[in-house]
Amino acid sequence: MNYTVRDSTPGDCKDIMRLIVDLAEYEKMPNEVKLSHKELEADGFSSNPFFKCLVAEVPEEFKSKEGHTIVGYGFYFFTYCTWKGRVVYLEDLYVMPEFRGKGIGKALMSRIAQIGRAQGCVRMQFTVLDWNKPSLDFYSSQGALNLTAAEGWQLLRFEGEALEKLAQSAN
């Protein structure tokens, strides 16, 4: 079955949103998705985009049971490491279950690695849930290193009320 990996366009946002929700369901957190496809469009396709997204597309004759031809996506942006420089951050990588095992995930990831290298990035970074064995195995096979295990890094956040409270006390 053939497929193409290409840059997304504003018209792809409804499909991307659909896949974002699918991935959130897989990660057991579907209620956490608050974003709309309109916000995605505004934030990703203006003159100062906050992210980039690649999509994997199959021809009409291979469309999914529900009639979709956009069957996977790779969502990324650029970050910075004060020790080494530019980093490409892989925020989401997902392929619909019925299209797995055909190399689509690897193709999306490779293209992002290529884009990262073209921008002078020294590293790709991402997070994975500790129970997600299929993904943990896939990334290890590509040469990924678990920094939480190897170096003890913990991911923290300030959000909602805590962020507001902190902001309000600024001078």
């Binding site: 420089g85 925020e91 690695a113 997070t127 129970w131 003890g152 890094w153 913990q154 902001a167």
Partner: protein, 171 residues
């Protein structure tokens, strides 16, 4: 002594920023990992599409450090994107020189950043902390931060340059 100002970093600050990056890396017991140069910091932070933003803490000349420095703290951040909730502010590095701690500089920097986050409509501020760094973890938790690695199981991964090159050439 409590006189200090917080301001946006300027191109002239890159040598102080690199000095503080190296001091922080030393505190994290990883100082030989810093290979970034002043030239890269300048290009990456003050070009047309900056990869990072930086705030510095400066004291008056009469309160300069034992080595004659007036830039005594910094925070480096950039904007990332969560497909579930939208824009986030990511705090990459945050450091105040040892001799200037205990005067509220760290608190003020964090407040200023959270104010920036709210002003730019970010839903959350994210950052990583080494699990052995108890003083920092307590500092953040006291201000309402949650540890996503403990609470939700997120693990941080990286793929280094040699594997990125391999992946990009395998497409």
């Amino acid at each position: 002594m409590a006189n200090f100002i917080l301001r946006k970093a300027e191109p002239k600050d890159v040598s102080d920023i690199l000095r503080l990056i190296k001091e922080l890396a030393k505190y994290e017991e990883m100082e030989d990992q810093v290979i970034l140069t002043e030239k890269e910091l300048l290009e990456d932070g003050f070009g047309e599409h900056p990869f990072y933003h930086c705030v510095v803490a400066e004291v008056p000349k009469e309160q300069q450090s034992s080595e004659g420095h007036t830039v005594v703290g910094f925070a480096m951040y950039y904007f990332t994107y969560d497909p579930w909730i939208g824009k986030l502010l990511y705090l990459e590095d945050f450091y105040v020189m040892k001799e200037y701690r205990g005067y509220g500089m760290g608190s003020e920097i964090l407040k200023k950043l959270s104010h920036t986050a709210v002003k730019t409509r970010c839903s959350s501020m994210h950052f990583i902390v080494a699990e052995w760094n108890k003083p920092s973890i307590e500092f953040y938790k006291r201000r309402g931060a949650s540890d996503l690695s403990s609470e939700e199981g997120w693990r941080l991964f990286k793929i280094d340059k040699q594997y990125l090159v391999k992946m990009s050439s395998e497409e």
